[in-house]
Each structure stands twice: as structure tokens, then as C-alpha cells.
Subunit: 238 residues, 2 copies
DNA sequence: AATATTTTGTGATATAAAACACAATTTTTG
DNA sequence: CAAAAATTGTGTTTTATATCACAAAATATT
């Protein structure tokens, strides 16, 4: 596994063309010509393969990462085992919480699909926050949304049984991540279990059940949702 | 129960003296004379009794609340039951996530001890974010810390057994909330159970166990921690 | 102070999901 | 391409914790 130790300084890599970037974040849309120039000079774009680590818990944090496109998992080394706490797709900023006020990363992030990421020097990013109110505003909006989503995810995890949680995850991949009823799971059964706080065995069993019940079409990691209405019922009532 | 429907407009109440406030937030310390004057005119201070609601899920959100002192619980109406998602003490901003980008509150907050809260008009707050980089910066720092704490709390909830979670909660109240080894729990057994995802019966049982084992001294809601080392052991190993 | 209501403690029972075990399949590697 | 490693499916057993039941205690209400 390739680990990208995230130290990016002025012109360390070829600068991307931030000014004409097709994937500008809501915040970056408020940057003026000068600021975008500054960003270009303090930012490096990287292509990530599935499995590439983006930042690692415990390591000195020095960049904010803007994931232009792709899918990532966030995870924490817990007491006994690693735990996936979030799966997200670009465009999105990664690691603002773990970089902004922390010396060392408090969690890790790894690409779980081919992705494009821009590593932005933290001081440059902070400059924008300090000097561009609209930029700061949009960053706050994104952080607020994250917190609310996390609250609701937390409730779901504790108030639903496994069938409900598996349903939720299948719908999440369908509606949020892939925007399609059929997709290839980016996780092993083990990781899937970890993600929704259960075991690989339970995941296997539930997916087989859903397959037999005609709710999904299952073929290894390939999932096709046949009866989304039913899946949403199960999400609510277990 | 008193519900304070949070609409605060210019001079609706007697203005507090923000300029000389002893409890200024890290962010507010960066406000200049003019801005503090503006804050005074768009802010109302309220004394809250135990049980007073601060804002309510589903209701139009129009204020950021700054809890100068006191203790609050945040909770969400889940699928089947209400769930406490967080307990915090002042000084702290409440409801930035639920107010900043949301029309309606996505969760509720209630005082669980005598508290003092300032209801700040959301537009005034947003003005500060837009025009004062240092203010925005500090708000971002607070939001980032919240997210990381939430991640770690989430891990604890899923990787620990009930004894471990009860230990965690007892330590949390001791070290974070009351800063003392003896305190009066601000929750019923039922709420305590809800807070750490278990039942009132389990809470009763575990507290009785801890009492018998000489780890705590238990008398109704009064808790005295006798052996914190042991409690921390249990927090780790169940 | 007396009554009603809520909260709490604790034993007995039920149950969902974890853990275990092992074979089958798929993927990775040399 | 063959061997090794990792992943997956499924039956059986175990276990932690929820649920149920009911009395005792504490708190709130009149």
C-alpha cells in the first residue's frame, strides 16, 4: 500500500490550474484571482488508486485535502480494532477537523476507489479563512452539515437492527455514492460489517436473505437493488 | 416545562454588557468595540432553570446560543424514541450546526442544570463570520473539535461493553463536567441509559456493582469516585 | 401530610447477534 | 499457471444485554 506522507510546499509538484478548475468547492468559488493564484502555488494534485492512504492517524498533519472526485473511507484505530467511521465521495474537503487545530491526525483516510486529490498547504488554507469571509462561511457550512449528518448516523446505528442498518448502507451507496441502483461494493464483507458495527458473518447472512427475498440481486460485490421501497421499509422497521 | 421560542431581534430584551463579559468565547475575544456594540444590540441573555428547553427540533431556527455557564443535553427524536447525543457545559456555542445552514432545528437542546445563555441573532453572528477572519477561525476550531470528539465517542460506544461505557460516563462527568470526584448526576437512570445506549435496568445493575466493588460510593444520584484508576481500567477492558 | 406519580432495584426469562468452526470460493502472488 | 493468502457462506453454540415483572423508594402534587 502506497502511503502519501503529506508535506506539500511551494512548487513541490506541478501546480494544478485552480483558476479553471471544474471541481471548485463552494468555498473556492469565492476566491479572487490573486487568491486562486496563491492556491495554485501551494497545492499539489495527486491521482490516487484504490487503497492509497491519504493521511494517517498519529502522523503530523500539514495539509487540507480537497478530494475533487473519488471515494474515501475515514477510520480510527480504536481500542482493539480499526473502525470505519465515515465513507464519502468527492467533491469534498478531507481532514479539516484533523488538520486545522491538531498537530497530529486524529484519524486516517484512504481512497477506496480511483480518486483525484489536491493537497493544500494548511497555512494557505488558513489565510483564506482569515481574509475571505465568504470562504470561511462556506467552510463552516460544510462542517455544520458534517456534524448533523454524524448525529443522525449515530442515531441510526443505535436504534436499528442489523437488517435495518444493512438496508441503510445499501441505500446510501445507491443514492449518495454511486447514484445508481446497481453498483460494485467498494468494501469487503469484513469492512462492510465494520462500517455498520457488525460482523462479516452477519453481513453475509443478511445479503443472502435480501437476495432470496428478491430485494436485491447479489453477485459477489455486485449489488443491484430490485425493490428499493421494501429496502426503505426494512430500514425503518428492521 | 418552559419553552423559549427563540426569536430575538434588536433590543427585544435588555442588552447584556458584552463588552465587559467575563465569559467571552475565544471567537468573541477577537471582536472590536464596534462589533461588540453590535452584538449587545442583537443579543439577549436568559437565565435557564433545569429542564428549560433552549431550542427544539423541527422549530424554525433563528439564533445561535452562547451558553455562558451551565450544562445542557442535546437530543434527537429518533425513529422510536428520543436519544441524547451529547452533554456539554458552558462556555460553549450551542446550535451552530442546527442554525447556520438549516431552516429548522435538526436537534433539540435542554438545560440540565441552572444555566446562563445568550441568544444571538443569526444574521449578526453571520456578519461576524463574514467580516472578522479571526472570529471565523475560532468558530471553525470549535466545530472541528466537536467533530473529532464525536468520532471518538462513536468508537467508544461501539467497541466497549456496558461496564466500560458506564465507566466512561462517570469519568466524563467527573473530569469534564464537574471537575470533581463527587457530584450529583444530572440524569435519571433512564436518561443515563439512553445517553450510553443501554437500558435503565443495566445502569442500575452496573452502578450497584461498582458500589459493591468499592469503586464508587453511590447514594441515589450522588456519586463519589473512590477508585478512578480502577474505573479507567474498566473503561479500557470492560 | 396524604396521595399520586415517577424513578429505581433486582430477579427471571428471552433473544439478537457475536463467536466459533470449517469448507468453498475468489483474489493475489511468485 | 500453480500455490498461497484472503475472502466468503453457512451451520452450531454461546453470551451479553434487553425485556418483563413487580415491589420499594423517592419525588411531585393537591
Amino acid at each position: 500500500m502506497f502511503i502519501f506522507y503529506t508535506f506539500v510546499k511551494k512548487n513541490m509538484f506541478n501546480s494544478p490550474a485552480c483558476k479553471n478548475c471544474q471541481f471548485k468547492s463552494a468555498a473556492a468559488k469565492f476566491l479572487n484571482e490573486d487568491e486562486l493564484g496563491n492556491l495554485e502555488n501551494n497545492c499539489a494534485e495527486i491521482e490516487l488508486k484504490k487503497g492509497d492512504m491519504i493521511f494517517k492517524q498519529g502522523i503530523l498533519s500539514s495539509n487540507i485535502v480537497y478530494l475533487k472526485k473519488g471515494i474515501v473511507k475515514f477510520y480510527i484505530e480504536g481500542l482493539y480494532k480499526e473502525q470505519i467511521i465515515k465513507i464519502a465521495k468527492g467533491p469534498i474537503y478531507l481532514g479539516i477537523p484533523t488538520t486545522f487545530d491538531e498537530k497530529y491526525n486524529r484519524y486516517s483516510a484512504t481512497a477506496i476507489a480511483k480518486s483525484n486529490a489536491c493537497f493544500i498547504d494548511i497555512d494557505t488554507f488558513k489565510e483564506f479563512v482569515q481574509n475571505n469571509g465568504n470562504f470561511a462561511y462556506e467552510i463552516i457550512v460544510e462542517l455544520c452539515r458534517n456534524e448533523i449528518n454524524l448525529f443522525h448516523k449515530y442515531i441510526n446505528r443505535t436504534q436499528k437492527n442489523i437488517r435495518g442498518r444493512v438496508s441503510d448502507a445499501l441505500i446510501f451507496f445507491s443514492e449518495i455514492i454511486y447514484e445508481s441502483d446497481s453498483y460494485k461494493l467498494p468494501l469487503t464483507r469484513n469492512e462492510f460489517g465494520n462500517y455498520i458495527d457488525t460482523t462479516r458473518e452477519s453481513i453475509s447472512r443478511i445479503l443472502t436473505e435480501f437476495n432470496k427475498e428478491g430485494i436485491i440481486n447479489l453477485e459477489g460485490k455486485k449489488i443491484e437493488i430490485l425493490n428499493k421501497k421494501q429496502l426503505k421499509m426494512i430500514s425503518k422497521n428492521g
